[in-house]
């Protein structure tokens, strides 16, 4: 690394480097102004007995981390998080891709359908609890009502230890909007000439998808997968509004565990430690994905 840094470079490369730093300067300034303080503050605070007041903090070393690893509920929350993350990423990304492909077809009424599939993303927020009760409620919900018409006894969804995690994964499908839009924009960016030449070569739909769409879409798909992992770790709207980690601890995920410690138990030092453990896990997962990405992500022209 250092040898590469010290290597003498040409004047034009130097100029390019200056432009690079000029272009990322706003971001760099923002990083220093708004992020460095809070982030390193959090790191430091995770080694203290911070409850609320920032005065008279006691340094407790790794005590908060030890507390966490000794807490069986924290271990459960890590397991629950991984379960939900895997489910959300696998099903969520496939579903987003399927929808993006469908909504990229030249079929009448497509702009309307695009809006329809984006609607839940727009109406999220305050309406979320009310809406989920209407759909997922075992007794009143439209979902179980529909199943009943088909002669199926619907499950108790979020009101059962066994079903709560699958329910949360299923619910997350409704927030497919942003990923769908990103993939749609990616699909629109695939030059039509490539399809045309593939057709001239006699490629079928699958061959076109496999040989044109996927490689051209891979940088965007890669982004969607990375972001899905991150947001699955961090999203807890449904959990806060609907399950509060229950029944039992079966939907207690790390972010809820963090929130509970910070704002309900007033153990902000412990919450900070949870944040750093989440950070390390995500860092590792993202690093692995970038490694794997080299094998399947096709960049038209990356300046390395």
């Amino acid at each position: 690394m250092f040898r590469r840094l010290m290597r003498p470079i040409s004047p034009s490369a130097k100029r390019e480097e200056r432009i690079f730093y000029l272009f990322i300067l706003p971001w760099l300034i923002g990083l220093v102004l708004f992020n460095v303080g809070p982030v390193f503050g959090m790191l430091g605070l995770s080694f203290t007995d911070w409850r609320i007041s920032l005065d008279n903090l006691q340094f407790v070393g790794l005590e908060n981390y030890r507390t966490l690893f000794a807490d069986p509920i924290f271990r459960i929350s890590v397991g629950n998080t991984l379960y939900i993350v895997v489910g959300r990423v696998v099903f969520g990304t496939s579903f987003a891709l399927l929808l993006a492909i469908l909504l990229n077809q030249k079929v009448p009424g497509i702009p309307f359908f695009r809006a329809v599939y984006y609607l839940p993303t727009v109406t999220a927020g305050v309406a979320v609890a009310l809406v989920w009760i209407w759909i997922f409620n075992p007794r009143l919900g439209i979902l179980n009502y529909t199943l009943k018409q088909l002669g199926i006894q619907g499950p108790p969804w979020i009101f059962s230890k066994d079903w709560v995690k699958p329910s949360l994964i299923l619910m997350s499908m409704f927030s497919v909007g942003p990923n769908m839009i990103i993939l749609l924009a990616g699909l629109q960016g695939v030059p039509k000439e490539l399809y045309e030449s593939a057709e001239i070569d006699g490629a079928g739909n699958w061959a076109k998808f496999r040989n044109v769409t996927l490689p051209m879409l891979s940088p965007v798909l890669f982004f969607v997968i990375i972001i899905s992992v991150v947001s699955s770790f961090q999203n807890f709207t449904e959990i806060r509004v609907m399950t509060e980690g229950g029944p039992g601890e079966s939907s207690n995920v790390m972010i809820w565990y963090l929130w509970e410690n910070a704002f309900i138990f007033l153990q902000l030092g412990v919450a900070a430690a949870v944040a750093w453990i989440m950070f390390v896990i995500l860092m590792a997962l993202t690093g692995i994905q970038f490694r794997l990405g080299r094998r399947w992500v096709y960049y038209e022209g990356e300046a390395r």
Partner: protein, 295 residues
């Protein structure tokens, strides 16, 4: 590309119309039933907005209210004279527009640098861009609040309106990925013409990335329009409040929430987002077709 025997090619071409019809049928068969499920949240919202309060949780539930209580809309909007939605909407609009422009400018620059410029230390800084996305926001709530209070920015729009001008990792990463799909030959051609990076960015990347930029704008719009916890924390006086904060003023303790009024205003608040989505759609999903990429 796979090469297929000519004979097969001919028979495939023959049935191209039939295939297209089948394709449309399959697309509809998938889109329509799922679409119904996806419209439900919106319908529930509008339906609640039109009910009297004592019908909101009536049993059995009704999707179409017995009587339509249009009065909820003006009632909700005027909020007992104590919630000023006009001011809140104005504030939200101001913050949202500022943040869209701020993000577009700062993120485009950084994304171009990360995607297409060679520099020592680039990978290191890009790793930091990613890393700042990975820390859960909930953990940063208190330290960030302390920071903005030290800046003396509390009860102003500054904590909400200044940071977007300094880039947002999610958007930088998003645009970088799109910028990486733009063919290298286009840049080479421009370089031969003597174009500098500013011109390449303005004349090649921005026009070619319209779908991505429009996507970013939509995300920034929705994210800021719906942003709740930040404004709730940073803003105190009524005349600086934003729409989502105003909206939850109808939430009360012990079941005292006025769902009908809340949903009425929520419906009004969703309309601009929907309009932008429906009419802006052609820019971000069809923009590329007119810009005509030559691969």
């Amino acid at each position: 590309m796979t090469t297929v025997k000519p004979k097969k090619t001919v028979s495939w071409r023959k049935s191209v119309k039939g295939r297209r019809a089948i394709g449309i049928a399959i697309t509809f068969a998938l889109l329509v039933p799922l679409g119904i499920a996806f419209v439900l949240p919106f319908i529930v919202m509008v339906s609640t907005a039109l009910k009297p309060l004592n019908q909101v949780f009536a049993f059995p539930p009704r999707l179409i209210p017995e009587t339509l209580q249009w009065q909820n809309f003006p009632d909700g909007w005027y909020g007992y004279g104590y919630v000023d939605f006009t001011t809140c909407t104005w504030n939200s609009l101001k913050i949202t527009l500022n943040n869209i422009i701020g993000n577009l400018v700062s993120c485009t620059l950084a994304a171009y640098a990360f995607a297409r410029l060679k520099a020592r230390g680039k990978n290191f800084f890009f790793a930091i861009v990613l890393a700042t996305m990975l820390l859960p926001n909930e953990a940063l709530v208190v330290p960030q609040y302390v920071l903005f209070s030290r800046f003396g920015w509390l009860d102003t729009h500054l904590p909400l309106m200044v940071p977007p001008w300094f880039g947002w990792p999610f958007f930088i990463f998003l645009l970088r990925q799109f910028f990486l799909t733009i063919p290298e030959e286009l840049i080479d051609a421009a370089k031969i013409d003597g174009a500098g990076h500013a011109r390449i960015l303005m004349q090649i990347f921005i026009p070619l990335s319209k779908p991505a930029l429009a996507t970013l704008a939509i995300f920034a719009f929705i994210g800021n329009w719906n942003n709740f916890f930040g404004p709730l924390l940073y803003l105190r006086t009524p005349n600086v409040q934003t729409l989502p904060v105003c909206l939850v003023q109808y939430q009360g303790a012990y079941g005292n929430t006025e769902w009908h009024l809340m949903m009425a205003v929520a419906t009004i608040a969703v309309i601009p987002v929907l309009l932008i989505f429906i009419f802006g759609q052609r820019y971000f999903v069809e923009g590329i077709a007119t810009s005509g990429v030559k691969g």
